[in-house]
Symmetry: none
Subunit: 415 residues, 2 copies
């Protein structure tokens, strides 16, 4: 099995001012194609140190991946270190320079002179084009070992690894992965339903990860060939779906808002929103999905009570009697949004996101979610925990709201 | 200055299944007492590898901190590796054994037999009691260099570092850090303005980090005492602010929406939003700030053109003649929002976030941002690059919109 070494470069990483997530991401991607990583290192921006580590690790491993240190400023030393470790000098790469100029031209800006250093590469290596930023990557051999150097910005690094590194790596035994996405069942309860499938040493390997009540079930299958691994994944996916039922809303890159929009598209229906405590987050999640305009018409963020009255026709009387955070106001907001904004469905949120503003009756974490539709209006009362952060309460509220629409649209809806 | 090395042990870390946050936390704690970390490493649970790295790094550094590999199972190899690297053998520590037994007794459980291995320590070292779990730490010298080994569970590791490691470390020169936050000037252009301050070897050390056009300028000052370091930071901050001017919106944990809200609060003014391509993101960023209801009244997300007409009074004629993505519609949205929603300021966004929907005239990445205020309405045309992702275009657009409000409210506004 091939052994890889991952090197993360940056004083901000060495001093702990930024937590490095690139090494873990790369190690997982390598594992997926059967390349094992037993070591990472993090180094400050110090040239002799970087050169030494590059030489030593290239001698001891089959592959070295480097992230960071490719920016245009004086503390970006990776290009120089790669050339030195490879025993060569730096030359300007004309294609890279043209691409960097084009990057700025497209934004109607002139390329700062400083950015031209990003077009340098070791004479014996080649540049790897960067489609998301100005820093090209570098491929070079050090003592015969292939070294790939990528920018430290995670989004750029990931795109470049996928497009320009992975296709050139030797594939060992195939590991294929799939993630089922669920919402509404806690990680422990979900784990109880698939306990036997999660035993260590099984193939496929099954594990869970959770964030804001979104629980992902990861399935890793190992086999000699990709079709064999995929067949294993298919069988596990069917078994897990049977156990989890409607809690599963999608797989891999699918998102809860994406699932809601797909469902609306199938039914030829539309959604509008009226947000108070989530402050635009439900709309933001929906419009993050390309093509969302087909199902999402828009909404209002009525943070001030005056706007709940003027934009949504919530009666002042209802606000005065029950308070803005109440079942009655959530209902009036949803009804008003459906009537005035005009959608098949209207979602409304009102609650106490904290950290202050909670009372005994209406604690931090209390959120009412209204959903108005062709068959009437329902309101759900949620308590997201007074110890949760403002961001967590808002995330949970927005996701719960979207999931209410999804479940109302399911053939077997009980909710 | 003392140089430390931080070693994180665990196959789950090396394979990337868990992101290590311990190394960054320890590096920050060490920096605060004047011990510099230029290297971390992450190693899989492989005995010869761990022993080699311990020996080599102990020879090259003044201090080695190790986390992980102290559990009771067969893949917990740190105790054995420490003894081997120190040239000694393992002995049972009676105090540790008694503490582990007591840990289980307190929870009314019997100590599993395998936990007794956690009471082992190198003969020449000593155990560090763990008040939060069963794994004692270990202190031992390898070739004269002090090595502290702590559990990998962050909560236990942090408590033990504070109680049992830090008090024994030599306090060297103090390093204090500060970050200035800027928006609107690219990383290269910003670097050009402070090039001389970023020269290597200067104290304070100055570097930059960038994400979505938010550029942070990090200042690390080293001195004998904290007040001296702070005085150095103050001087550098003043110098950098003089060079960057209004591009700086805050420091350390301050955010751009937070800066806008603070400015509005000082002026007793309010803001409303009318979002199309950002789909609620501006509102979401604002309401993410606790207490935002004082300055942010709310807004509308008018994704569908019909809602631009019905909620914002954008004339159908303007939409038909110029299209939804136009200077005229951005202006009408901002004017309508200010009039109908009622704020001192109204921000409007309309653009092509992609990935599809772009044309030659109106490419992906084209965004118009309108800002209506007491002194009239301005519209800015932005090109965020057709190769940027939908998420990146929306982020850039939302941040640029917020920054327009900030700059209009500045005493010296030119924008």
């Amino acid at each position: 099995m091939q052994q890889a070494f991952i090197l993360s470069i940056g004083t901000e990483l060495a001093l702990g001012q930024t937590v490095d997530t690139n090494a873990a991401w790369l190690a997982r991607e390598l594992a997926a194609i059967g390349i094992r990583t037993t070591r990472h290192a993090t180094l400050a921006d110090e040239l002799p140190l970087i050169v030494d580590v590059l030489k030593q690790t290239a001698a001891e491993h089959d592959l070295v991946l480097v992230t960071g240190g490719l920016g245009p400023t004086a503390d970006d030393l990776t290009r120089t270190a790669l050339a030195e470790a490879a025993g060569t000098d730096l030359v300007e790469d004309p294609d890279s320079l043209a691409r960097i100029r084009a990057f700025f031209a497209e934004r109607q800006r002139e390329m700062p002179a400083r950015n031209s250093v990003q077009a340098l590469r070791p004479r014996t290596g080649r540049s790897l084009p960067n489609d998301c930023g100005t820093a090209p990557g570098v491929h070079v051999r050090i003592g015969g070992t292939p070294v790939y150097s990528l920018p430290g910005v995670p989004r750029e690094m990931r795109a470049m690894f996928e497009a320009q590194v992975r296709p050139h790596l030797p594939v060992g035994r195939v590991i294929r992965s799939r993630i089922l996405r669920s919402f509404g069942l806690g990680e422990s309860d979900l784990g109880d339903r698939i306990r036997d499938l999660m035993q260590r040493g099984r193939n496929p390997e099954v594990g869970t990860t959770a964030a804001y009540a979104l629980v992902g079930v990861r399935i890793n299958a190992t086999a000699e060939t990709a079709p064999e691994a995929d067949a294993l994944l298919d069988r596990s996916e069917a078994e897990i779906r049977a156990r989890l039922g409607d809690y599963v809303y999608g797989r891999d890159g699918e998102t809860l808002p994406g699932a809601v929009l797909a469902m609306l598209a199938t039914r030829g229906e539309t959604l509008v929103t009226a947000e108070s405590c989530t402050g635009g987050l439900v709309g933001e999640m929906l419009t993050d999905v390309p093509g969302s305009s087909r199902g999402y018409r828009g909404g209002v963020v009525t943070y001030a009570n005056a706007l709940k009255e003027s934009l949504l026709d919530v009666p002042r009387d209802t606000l005065d009697t029950h308070g803005a955070v109440s079942e009655e106001v959530a209902r009036a907001m949803a009804d008003g949004a459906r009537r005035i904004l005009g959608g098949t469905w209207a979602l409304a949120t009102t609650g106490v996101a904290g950290p202050s503003g909670g009372t005994t009756d209406k604690p931090v974490g209390l959120v009412y979610i209204g959903l108005a539709g062709p068959d009437g209006t329902t309101v759900r009362r949620c308590l997201f925990g007074s110890d949760a952060t403002r961001a967590a309460i808002r995330q949970r509220a927005a996701l719960t709201a979207l999931n209410l629409v999804r479940r109302r649209c399911l053939p077997s809806a009980e909710d």
